[in-house]
């Protein structure tokens, strides 16, 4: 199993979610993070203009079976790319074990509902 962590634009979240569902990836978790990077937003607060390099983003955490890794990454890139600085990153790491709390199932089994 692999964990895919994708840090994307907030405004692209709905597109990414829909694309993932179309790809058959129905399970994941996400939360809001703040990204520090080259993309900057300019703000003014009470007369002090400032550049902020911290931008609100969405972090997606998706654990997939190895065979789904490739297509999931492709789906995310496709849906979240604008071509402008600040599109975000995707990181892949290894997951050693997985459990479905409801049933106690382990491993790949726990990742999808067998029909």
């Amino acid at each position: 199993m692999k964990k895919i962590e994708a840090i994307i634009r907030k405004s692209k979240f709905d597109e990414v979610k829909d694309t993932l569902h179309e790809t058959g990836i129905d399970f994941f978790s996400f939360w809001e993070v703040t990204g520090v990077g080259k993309a900057r937003e300019s703000r003014v607060y009470r007369g002090i203009a400032y550049d902020t390099s911290t931008i609100e983003r969405v972090m997606l955490s998706i654990i997939v079976r190895d065979i789904n890794l490739e297509k999931t990454v492709r789906a995310i890139i496709k849906a979240s790319k604008t071509g402008e600085v600040g599109d975000g990153k995707i990181f892949v790491s290894n997951i050693e074990e997985s459990y479905r709390i409801r049933t106690g199932e382990q491993g790949d089994e726990s990742l999808y509902i067998k029909e």
Binding site: K10, S11, K12, D14, E41, S42, R43, V44, Y45, A49
Partner: protein, 420 residues
């Protein structure tokens, strides 16, 4: 308010008048303050019912439509509305920079303040229907024109003594004259600008929940409170027994109709969508308030409850109809609350008025006149608004770019985020 100028038998009129005027004056002033306080009510409702990323934009436009409205209406709008009729009652004779120290039933300056906060109410309603996608400049421009022309002209037809008032059109505190005018301009705007991105996907309406319904609830309670000034203040007097009974009556029926609206919307939504909905119940209270506004002086308490109940249910249907059938995207429900329920309440004066309503044996005459008024004013506001928004659209000052809409207007238009 004749009773403030006539006096009781055998009593020196000057004395009576002097104090009666003082009483009227503080009544209308306090009412004006209450109506001004409706501004944060609108601000909280609109901000609460929309998304976090556009909150600064919405608060800003509320602050600005009130501020610009207050200035423009004082500079000239008031005179267009209340100046002597010219062109056969179509418009008042304009003059600039009102500064009269005269006194009628109360101070002239009390009057302009009271009328100003009404004008600003009309202006602020517009923007609710167009929230989350409109350029900030566009808000500034249409606030300017609404308080300069659109609202004063139809206002002149009615409260200004123009042709509709001569016809006998009844709209006591402005269900149509204030609320619907704002809503029909907003309808023109919502149609012209189109729905928010993501509102309709494959032809189906998508729910875009407001970011803070507690803020919305606070706003509705504030509006309810301010509405006592809106309606009972519109009696424009408090001295003498006639006014005494009238303002009490108006305040009571206002409260009953609001309560009816909230209860009906709650029950109707619970029945229709299986669950009692906070957002719709809040709108229901407003629907009851808007609907009773036209006839608060001539509708009995029982009639007010019925009108409130009907308006609350109508509101639910109307929101659904505009949102899902017509696919006109009105994030805060302004068109349904102020437009549909405003027109509905104005028509019902012809039915429920104890003076000449259908149910009280008055026949269809008044109902007909009400319909004429609703249509005439509706047409004026809608088409004037449409023209304005078409021009804004043509000059590309109406809608923000896709990118800005996606990322939120706050950061791009104002460089500020509300929550940090």
């Amino acid at each position: 308010m004749e009773e403030t100028t006539t006096t009781l038998a055998g009593i020196p009129p000057e004395l009576y008048n002097d104090l009666a005027i003082s009483i009227n004056n503080i009544w209308v002033l306090v009412a004006a303050f209450l109506v001004m306080f409706m501004q944060p009510g609108f601000a909280m409702v609109e901000a609460g019912f929309t998304r976090k990323k556009n909150t600064a934009n919405i608060l800003m436009k509320n602050l600005m439509d009130f501020s610009i409205g207050a200035l423009i209406y004082w500079v000239i709008g008031y005179s267009i509305m209340y100046g002597d009729s010219i062109f056969g009652g179509l418009i008042g004779k304009p003059f600039l920079f009102f500064n009269s120290d005269g006194i009628g039933d109360y101070a002239d300056k009390t009057d302009i303040l009271f009328q100003t906060v009404f004008a600003a109410t009309a202006a602020t309603i517009v923007s609710g229907a167009m929230a989350e996608r409109t350029k900030f400049q566009a808000y500034l421009i249409f606030s300017f024109f609404v308080t300069l022309i659109i609202y004063p002209i139809s206002g002149h037809w009615t409260w200004g003594g123009g042709w509709l008032s001569e016809l006998g059109f009844m709209d006591f505190a402005g269900s149509t004259i204030v609320h619907s005018v704002g809503a029909w301009v907003g309808l023109a705007g919502a149609i012209t600008i189109g729905p928010r991105l993501g509102k309709y996907i494959k032809g189906k309406a998508v729910a875009i929940p407001g970011h803070n319904l507690a803020m919305g609830a606070l706003g509705v309670f504030i509006l309810w409170f301010g509405w006592f000034g809106f309606n009972a203040g519109s009696q424009l007097g408090a001295a003498g027994s006639e006014n005494t009974v009238a303002i009490a009556h108006i305040a009571l029926v206002t409260n009953l109709s609001a309560a009816g609206g909230a209860v009906a919307a709650m029950l109707f939504a619970a029945f229709r969508y299986k669950r009692p909905s906070l957002s719709l119940s809040l709108n229901g209270a407003l629907a009851g308030l808007v609907a009773i506004t036209a006839g608060a002086d001539v509708i009995a308490p029982g009639g007010a409850v019925v009108i409130g109940l009907l308006a609350g249910a109508l509101l639910v249907l109307s929101v659904e109809f505009f949102d899902q059938k017509l696919k006109i995207d009105d994030p805060v429900g302004a068109i349904s609350v102020h437009g549909i329920c405003g027109a509905f309440g104005t028509l019902l004066v012809g039915v429920f008025s104890v003076e000449n309503g259908l149910l009280y044996g008055g026949g269809f005459t008044q109902l007909g006149i009400q319909a004429i008024g609703v249509l005439a004013i509706g047409a004026w506001a809608f088409f004037a608004g449409l023209l304005l928004f078409k021009i804004l659209k043509a000059t590309n000052t109406l809608r923000v770019s896709k990118r800005i809409e996606e990322e939120g207007l706050d950061v791009y238009e104002h460089g500020e985020s509300v929550y940090n």
